[in-house]
C-alpha cells in the first residue's frame, strides 16, 4: 500500500502538477493584459521545483509506489537541468510569443506538463512508468508544436510529429511487451535479475531491438531522425527551443533506465546497435547540415549529429560512459537553448530570422548578438575552451576505453566536418556585408538579454571549469 513516505519521495512532481493546475485556473480568470504575471509565476514555479528536487534529495537511492518510481542521483541531475533549461526557454520565448499573438497561458501550462513528463520518465523504475512518462512528455509536445494554428507549416509539422511519434511509441510498447513475456516482470530492477535467467533469450533480444527503435526515435538518432528537421523548422521557434533542449535530457534518461539498468546484462547486444546508430547519426547529421540554408534546419541536423556523440558515451555501457553521456546531454541542452535563444532574440514581428542569410553582417548591426552567436557556434563545433569541446572529448575517451577506437575516430572526423558549417554561420555574421534595407537588432526585453548573455557565458565558464559538473555526473553513477 502507498503511504506518506511514498508521497514525500514524489513531492517535486506532485508540487509541479498542483502548480500547473493552479496556473491553468489562474490563466482562465486572468485578463489578457495581466498575462506577464503568469510568465513570472511560471518561472518561479520551476525554480521552486529545482529547490525541492535538490533540498529533498535523499542520501541514497529510494523507491516509491512499489518500485515504480526511483529517486536517485541520476534523476536529480537530469531533473535539475531539465527544469533550468525550461526556465531559459520561458525567458527567451516571451517577446517572440508576444509579437505573434501566441502569448497564451497554454504555452506555459503545456510546457510545465511536459516537464512533469520528463521528471517521471527519468525517475522511472518500471517499464510502465517509462511509457507513461514518455507519453506525458510527447503529448504535450505535439500540442505545443501545433500551437500556432494559423500556420500551415506548424500544422504539418505537428501531424508528422504525432504520426511518427505514435508509431515509435507503438514500437517501444511492442518491445516492452516482448521483454515482459520473456521475463515476467515490468520492474526494471527485477528485470535486471530476470534477464539473466530467462528461458527465452531470443524473445528478449527481439524486444530489446524494438525498444532501441523507440529510444532512437526519441533521441532523434539516424535512421529514426526523419521528424527532426521538419518539426524544428515547422514549429514556432519558441517551441523548437523547448523541444531541442530539455527532452534530450529525458531521452538520455530513458535510454539509461531501459538499457543501463533494466537490460544491462544484454549490453554486448546493444553496444553494437548503438554504435551503428551513432555512426549513421554522425554521418547523416553532419553531411546534410552542410547544405542547409535555413538556420533552424541546420540546427536540427546538428542535433542529429550531437545525438550521435551522446550515443558514443552510451556505447561504453559503464559508469564512465554514462557519466560522459549525461555530461554531453547537459552541455547540449544548454548550447541548444542558447542557439535558439539568439534566434528568438533577433526575431521580431514579421521577421523570423531563420535563414542563415538573415544574419549577414550581424556584427555591424548588433556586435553583442554576433559575439554571443559566435561563442555558441564555437561551443557546438567543439572549439577548445568551450563547453562543447570537453563534452566531446569525454565521450571520445569513453568510447576508446570501451574498445571502440574506430568509433571515436569516426566521431573525430565528423567533428571536423561539423566545424565547417558552424564556422559558415560565423563567417556570414562577421565577413559578409549586411543586406541593404534590412534591419536586425536584439529584442529590447532586458531579462532576455541578461539571461541569454549569462547562458552563453556559462558555456565559456563551464568549458574552462568543467571539473565540478563532470565530478557530479561521475558521482551519481558510482555506488
Amino acid at each position: 500500500m502507498p503511504n506518506l513516505n511514498d508521497i514525500l519521495i514524489l513531492l517535486p512532481e506532485l508540487y509541479l502538477v498542483a502548480a500547473a493546475c493552479l496556473l491553468l485556473l489562474l490563466d482562465a480568470f486572468m485578463k489578457p493584459e495581466q498575462r506577464s504575471m503568469l510568465h513570472w509565476l511560471s518561472i518561479a514555479v520551476l525554480l521552486v521545483g529545482v529547490y525541492l528536487v535538490i533540498a529533498g534529495q535523499p542520501s541514497q537511492t529510494v523507491t516509491a509506489f512499489n518500485g515504480m518510481f526511483v529517486r536517485d542521483g541520476v534523476a536529480e541531475v537530469l531533473k535539475v537541468f531539465a527544469l533550468l533549461s525550461t526556465v531559459l526557454v520561458f525567458f527567451y520565448a516571451k517577446p517572440y510569443l508576444q509579437d505573434r499573438k501566441l502569448f497564451v497561458g497554454e504555452f506555459y501550462t503545456l510546457t510545465i506538463f511536459a516537464v512533469i513528463g520528463i521528471m517521471l520518465l527519468v525517475s522511472a523504475g518500471s517499464l510502465l512508468t517509462v511509457y507513461l512518462g514518455l507519453e506525458q512528455l510527447t503529448l504535450s509536445s505535439y500540442a505545443l508544436v501545433a500551437l500556432n494554428r494559423d500556420s500551415r507549416l506548424s500544422s504539418e509539422a505537428a501531424i508528422k510529429y504525432f504520426v511518427l511519434g505514435a508509431l515509435a511509441s507503438g514500437m517501444l510498447l511492442y518491445g516492452m511487451s516482448m521483454v515482459y513475456g520473456a521475463t515476467g516482470t515490468l520492474d526494471l530492477a527485477h528485470l535486471h535479475m530476470a534477464a539473466g535467467q530467462t528461458t527465452m533469450p531470443h524473445l528478449l533480444v527481439f524486444g530489446l531491438i524494438f525498444m532501441i527503435v523507440g529510444i532512437g526515435f526519441k533521441l532523434g538518432a539516424a535512421p529514426f531522425h526523419m521528424w527532426i528537421p521538419d518539426v524544428y523548422q515547422g514549429s514556432p521557434t519558441a517551441v523548437t527551443i523547448f523541444i531541442g533542449s530539455a527532452p534530450k535530457l529525458a531521452a538520455f534518461g530513458m535510454a539509461y533506465r531501459l538499457l543501463g539498468t533494466g537490460l544491462a546484462d544484454l549490453s554486448h547486444h546493444w553496444q553494437l546497435m548503438l554504435a551503428c546508430l551513432a555512426v549513421l547519426s554522425l554521418a547523416i547529421g553532419n553531411l546534410l547540415a552542410i547544405v542547409q540554408s535555413n538556420l533552424k534546419r541546420l540546427l536540427a541536423y546538428s542535433t542529429i549529429s550531437h545525438m550521435g556523440y551522446l550515443l558514443l558515451g552510451l556505447v561504453n555501457a559503464g559508469p564512465e560512459g554514462y557519466a560522459s553521456a549525461l555530461f554531453y546531454a547537459i552541455s547540449y541542452a544548454l548550447m541548444s537553448a542558447a542557439a535558439f535563444g539568439v534566434i528568438l532574440a533577433l526575431a521580431r514581428a514579421g521577421f523570423e530570422c531563420e535563414e542563415i542569410d538573415d544574419l549577414k553582417g550581424l556584427n555591424q548591426r548588433s556586435p553583442w548578438a554576433a559575439f554571443l552567436m559566435m561563442l555558441v557556434m564555437f561551443s557546438m563545433a567543439g572549439v577548445p575552451p568551450m563547453f562543447g569541446f570537453f563534452a566531446k572529448l569525454l565521450v571520445f575517451q569513453a568510447a576508446i576505453h570501451a574498445g571502440f577506437l574506430w568509433l571515436a575516430i569516426v566521431g573525430a572526423v565528423a567533428a571536423i566536418i561539423g566545424i565547417y558549417y558552424y564556422l559558415r554561420v560565423v563567417k556570414v555574421m562577421y565577413f559578409d556585408k549586411p543586406v541593404e534595407g534590412t534591419e536586425i537588432r536584439l529584442q529590447s526585453d532586458v531579462s532576455l538579454r541578461v539571461v541569454l548573455s549569462l547562458n552563453v557565458l556559462a558555456l565559456l565558464v563551464l568549458g574552462i571549469g568543467w571539473g565540478p559538473l563532470f565530478g557530479w555526473c561521475q558521482r551519481v553513477f558510482v555506488g
Binding site: L128, L132, L139
Partner: protein, 217 residues
C-alpha cells in the same frame, strides 16, 4: 463426449481465426461501412478470446466501450462523411447482409463460449483472482489502486493534458462570434420580433408541367 480442454483449444483457434480474418477485412474492404462492421467483429472475437483467458473485465470493457460506443460513433461518422443522400437512405438494406453475417458469427462465438463454460469451469491454470475468491473485476480494482496506483494516476494526468491540448488547439476568440447574452434575451419584447401583416389572397400559380418532360437549362 469431447474432451473439454480440446474443445477450449478448438474455440481459441476458431476465435483467433475469425479475429485475423476480420482484421484483414478492416484494411482490405473497399466499402468503409463494411470495414467498420468488420472492426466490430474483430473486437468481439478478441473479447471472446479474453473471456476464454478469464479476463472478464477487459472483455466486457472492450464490448461496452469499443463496440458499444466508439464503433457506433465511427459508423455515424463514416455514414455522415459520404454525403450521398440516396446511399444514406439505402444504407440499411444495402448493409443488411454484411450486418447479418457479422451478427451470426458473433452469435456462434457466444454459443461456443457458453459451451466452454458449461463443459469446464476451471479452464485455465491458477488464476490469482479465483484463488483469492474474488471476481476478476474486484481483483483488478485492488491492483489498480494499490500496486499500480502511480501509473493509474499518471494516466489521469495524461488525459488532463489531452483536454488542455484539445481546448488550446480548437477554441477561437474571433471578433463577431455570437454568444448568448441572457440579459438581452430576457428583455426581448415579442412585438419587436413578430410583425403580423395583412395581405390580399394571391392567385394560385399556373399548374406545373408534368415530370419527365422537364428540360434542364
Amino acid at each position: 463426449m469431447i474432451d473439454p480442454s480440446m474443445f477450449q483449444l478448438v474455440c481459441f483457434y476458431a476465435f483467433a481465426a475469425v479475429t485475423v480474418v476480420a482484421a484483414l477485412g478492416v484494411i482490405t474492404l473497399r466499402n468503409t461501412v463494411h470495414a467498420v462492421l468488420s472492426l466490430v467483429l474483430t473486437f468481439f472475437s478478441t473479447a471472446c478470446i479474453w473471456l476464454l483467458a478469464e479476463a472478464e473485465f477487459l472483455a466486457i470493457a472492450l464490448i461496452v466501450v469499443y463496440v458499444g460506443a466508439v464503433m457506433v460513433l465511427f459508423l455515424f461518422v463514416v455514414m455522415m462523411l459520404d454525403i450521398n443522400e440516396e446511399r444514406l437512405r439505402e444504407g440499411f438494406i444495402k448493409f443488411l447482409p454484411v450486418g447479418i453475417i457479422v451478427a451470426l458469427v458473433m452469435l456462434g462465438e457466444m454459443v461456443a463460449l457458453i459451451g466452454v463454460r458449461a463443459m469446464h469451469e476451471q479452464v485455465m491454470g491458477a488464476n490469482p483472482a479465483t484463488v483469492a475468491g474474488v471476481s476478476n473485476t474486484e481483483w483488478l480494482g485492488h491492483a489498480l489502486y494499490t500496486q499500480f496506483l502511480l501509473p493509474f494516476e499518471i494516466a489521469a494526468l495524461i488525459l488532463t493534458v489531452g483536454v488542455v491540448a484539445a481546448v488550446a488547439l480548437t477554441i477561437r476568440h474571433r471578433a463577431g462570434t455570437r454568444h448568448q447574452q441572457a440579459s438581452q434575451q430576457v428583455l426581448v419584447n415579442p412585438r419587436d420580433r413578430v410583425r403580423v401583416v395583412k395581405m390580399a389572397a394571391t392567385v394560385p400559380a399556373a399548374p406545373q408541367p408534368a415530370p419527365g418532360k422537364e428540360t434542364t437549362p
